[in-house]
């Protein structure tokens, strides 16, 4: 009874800290399990932590490593990709993602327009949408301010500034638009099962037109329940081909 009372008092005094300590302890236990090759234990602990910290890139990264150790390359790539979405400049995440991509050797044909967009707006892969939007906001503020100042002060320097910021704003607007399209407007997934059969219809009896390896990144278009048993996901391959796969074969990023 005294112990319960003591914990209660401690909790009241310290607020959240008791729970925070517990989470830190779980985090340490997960790391310990990882280093002792107890992958399943590490997995469940990290997953439980992820429920409390759903936007923590490090947890996604660690989960990616656990899946890599378990030999589930598709799942590993999925979690690295999630981590990279949150922390695109983190070198460990980039390195591991690149390593696993190389290891799986998955490379689907990409249309020229995608490659062009990727090369023209190369910086997009180093920034989150949040960062791009904030930058856009700042550039927009500077642009409109300089434009407003220009109403009162007619200096050539200010005119040049207005033009410069105007071009920068237009560029950033397109860049942020592309990033928005890639991250929020569209849904992406990574195939997590080996040899995923892509069918033209959501029926197992229909012959697949292609089989894709785990780790392949595809766009998710929609879903379809079938006979209340199977859930099918419609995907679009990088070359534009559409097909259906089972829900358990893809991990959303």
């Amino acid at each position: 009874m005294k112990l319960v009372f003591a914990i209660l008092v401690l909790s009241l005094l310290t607020g959240e800290s008791v729970f925070a300590d517990q989470r830190e302890d779980n985090f340490r236990r997960a790391s310990e399990a990882y280093y002792k090759n107890r992958w399943d234990e590490a997995l469940s602990l990290y997953q439980a932590l992820l429920k409390e910290f759903p936007t923590n890139a490090h947890l996604y990264f660690n989960l990616g490593n656990v899946y890599f150790r378990k030999g589930e390359m598709g799942r590993a790539l999925q979690h690295y990709a999630k981590a990279l979405n949150l922390k695109p400049r983190e070198p460990d995440i980039r390195a591991n993602l690149k390593f696993v991509q190389k290891k799986t050797g998955v490379e689907l044909p990409v249309p020229f327009s995608t490659t062009l967009k990727k090369n023209l707006f190369f910086w997009n892969s180093y920034f989150t949408l949040h960062e791009l939007v904030l930058s856009l906001l700042m550039v927009a503020a500077v642009f409109w301010s300089s434009l407003t100042l220009r109403l009162y002060i007619k200096r050539p320097l200010l005119k040049g500034g207005v033009w410069g910021f105007g071009i920068l704003l237009a560029l950033m607007l397109v860049s942020t638009g592309i990033k928005y399209d890639e991250t929020l407007a569209r849904r992406w997934g990574i195939l997590i099962k080996p040899e995923v059969a892509v069918r033209p219809a959501y029926l197992k009896s229909v012959e697949p037109f292609v089989k894709l390896p785990d780790g392949a990144k595809v766009e998710i278009l929609g879903d379809q329940e079938f006979k209340n048993e199977e859930k099918w996901i419609q995907i679009r391959l990088p070359n534009g081909t559409r097909g259906w796969i089972l829900e358990e074969e893809i991990g959303v990023i």
């Binding site: 790391s31 936007t55 990264f61 660690n62 490593n65 591991n96 939007v133």
Partner: protein, 585 residues
């Protein structure tokens, strides 16, 4: 329609078989007719060991001829002959209303599986079986085996490449279907290779072949078999069920233009002979590095880098290739002291060819030297059994020396330093991937995510609104500067009212200023007469003009008297100017 049925007709059971003369390849139809009754249980068939019996349905009919009712029910059965000879099918029994009815026995003769006599051969063009596309330009099959036709138009064969293979040795089971007539609905039943591990080599290949002067289409299927047990094993017969047209002796019906059309077909069951094989055991005892690999193989190894730094990775690749049970290949054990070893999942690649399944299995090991200096990778040894020589043979790779330079002392990954050192678990010296993030502080990192679009719209919207407001103000000012008279005219009444609300201003002065602003003149320069004249010239309402005139005179009198204005005069002034404003002076 009501039909009054009179007394039932006499009940009788009859049986007929079609055709009464057939071969082992034919399917026969046994029809049992029950006349005089539509009810009752199914007839009881006698024991027919020479046939496989399959029920194929019932039919019934009712006829009224000259008031006599005749009912008939027929039961049909397919009989597949299992042996040659003349067989009598015993009477078929029907039990009805406690009575027993029997048919007459029927006799059938089953001959050898000789499909067609040469005289019955069609002369129409040769066509492949339907559903089996055939390239007309396809070359003849390479080195075809000798085939004896024996006057047939279609037949099947099944053979194995070796009758006495060793256990785990790859042999080829080949099924061939020869035909020179159009065939419909070919259904192949390959036996279950229960004593073998099997893998399809050639799913289906078609080619032409000249046999005894006639051109045949040959459909071929090849399966690789790996015996799983020693001793005598039997591969059961392969069965091909086909539909061939009746009346094949008439070339018209086999014409490709007509196809089958509504032509009646006849089912045929073609059977190959069962094959008996003797599986030989491998010599005993097997060598030390033997792991059930049987065939002809090669082995080679390569190292991605022979000069590495301590803690860096080099990859050892071992490739075992050849013909045989390559999937069973395992990497021979090797002592890799001085290295930390990470095994990769082996990859198997196979090629299916006429000779069977060829392939290679690639093993990869990531090696991380734990110490600096010259480290030697010992040779790898692998033993396999070669069925061609009947002996065990050995493969060996060359030893490889790796030069390991000392580490430059840098941490491979900062993340390692975050791992608490007092933990009792063992940390790997190196990982090929950046290791997990372990510092508890990373747990508190929350990446900002844009959650409110409304806030964004607000933030993005404010600067342009500020700009637009300023632009508007600027435009107004500009307009004022560009046309001050118009601005003065527009604001004349507002300024008049504003001034009139003040104390100590002269009404007359304000009226002059008002009209001055309206007409673009200096107000102080206008006299009362000028104001009246101008208003009169502009076509002002007469009554209003008279009121204004008298009011202006009153104000002048008051002004000359030293008064500024009385409240009544002031309100009258405002009222009159308001009316003027409404009349758009």
């Amino acid at each position: 329609m009501a039909i009054g049925l009179s007394a039932p007709a006499q009940i009788s059971v009859s049986a007929r078989i079609e055709p009464e003369q057939a071969t082992l390849e034919d399917e026969l139809t046994l029809t049992v007719s029950i006349k005089g009754s539509m009810k009752g249980s199914e007839p009881v068939l006698p024991n027919m060991p020479a046939f496989k019996v399959i029920a194929s349905g019932t039919s019934s009919s009712l006829q009224i001829i000259n008031g006599d009712v005749e009912s008939r029910k027929e039961y049909s059965y397919v009989l597949i002959p299992q042996e040659e000879g003349t067989f009598t099918i015993d009477p078929i029994t029907l039990f009805l209303d406690g009575r027993e009815y029997k048919s007459e026995p029927v006799t059938v003769t089953i001959g050898k599986a000789l499909s067609q006599s040469p005289s019955a051969r069609p002369t129409g063009p040769l066509l492949p079986p339907s559903g089996f596309p055939l390239d007309q330009n396809e070359p003849q099959a390479p080195s075809p085996p000798f085939v004896e036709r024996k006057g047939k138009d279609y037949w099947i064969t099944a053979s194995v490449s070796k009758k006495n293979p060793y256990i785990n040795e790859q042999i080829l089971y080949t099924f061939r279907f020869y035909t020179r007539v159009r065939v419909r609905e070919a259904t192949l039943t390959i036996p279950e290779f229960k004593d073998f591990w099997s893998e399809e080599v050639v799913p289906e290949k078609k080619y032409y072949r000249e046999i005894e002067g006639d051109r045949f289409v040959v459909s071929e299927k090849v399966i690789a078999l790996y015996p799983l047990k020693t001793g005598e094993v039997t591969i059961p017969e392969t069965v091909l069920k086909i539909e061939v047209p009746e009346g094949m002796d008439n070339p018209f019906f086999n014409d490709p233009f007509f196809g089958f059309g509504s032509l009646k077909t006849r089912p045929k069951n073609l059977k190959s002979d069962s094959l008996v094989l003797t599986i030989l055991p491998l010599p005993d005892p097997p060598p030390q590095n033997f792991a059930n690999l049987v065939g002809q193989f090669q082995m080679k190894s390569a190292l991605s880098s022979r000069q590495v730094k301590e803690g860096e990775t080099t990859t050892l690749t071992v490739e075992i290739s050849g013909r045989g049970n390559i999937k069973d290949a395992v990497l021979p054990p090797v002592s890799l002291d001085g290295f930390k070893v990470y095994d990769d999942k082996p990859v198997t690649e196979t090629v299916r060819s006429e000779e069977g399944i060829l392939g290679k299995k690639i093993f990869k090991k990531a090696l991380v030297p734990l110490t600096s200096g010259e480290l030697v990778l010992p040779p790898l040894s692998l033993d396999y059994f070669n069925p061609m020589t009947g002996k065990f043979e050995s493969l060996q790779t060359e030893p490889v020396t790796v030069s390991v330079a000392p580490s430059d002392g840098e941490q491979l990954n900062d993340a390692f330093s975050q791992v608490p050192q007092n933990r009792d678990w063992h940390l790997p010296v190196h990982e090929e991937i950046a290791t997990i993030h372990t510092h508890p502080s990373v747990l508190m990192v929350r990446e900002p995510i844009i959650s409110s679009r409304l806030v964004l719209v607000f933030l993005f919207g404010i600067p342009p609104l500020v700009y637009l407001a300023n632009l508007l103000v600027g435009l107004i000012r500009l307009r004022r500067l560009q046309n001050p008279q118009a601005y003065r005219k527009k604001r004349a009444f507002r300024i008049f009212l504003k001034n009139m609300s003040r104390e100590g201003v002269h009404d007359l002065e304000q009226i002059r200023d008002y009209f001055g602003a309206k007409w673009g003149l200096r107000g102080s320069g206008l006299t009362t007469a000028e104001v009246i004249d101008r208003l009169e010239a502009s076509g002002m309402d007469r009554n209003l003009l008279n009121d204004l005139r008298s009011h202006l005179h009153a104000l002048e009198r008051s002004s000359y008297g030293g008064e500024i204005s009385t409240p009544s005069l002031r309100s009258k002034t405002v009222e009159l100017i308001q009316k003027m404003e409404r009349k758009k002076v």
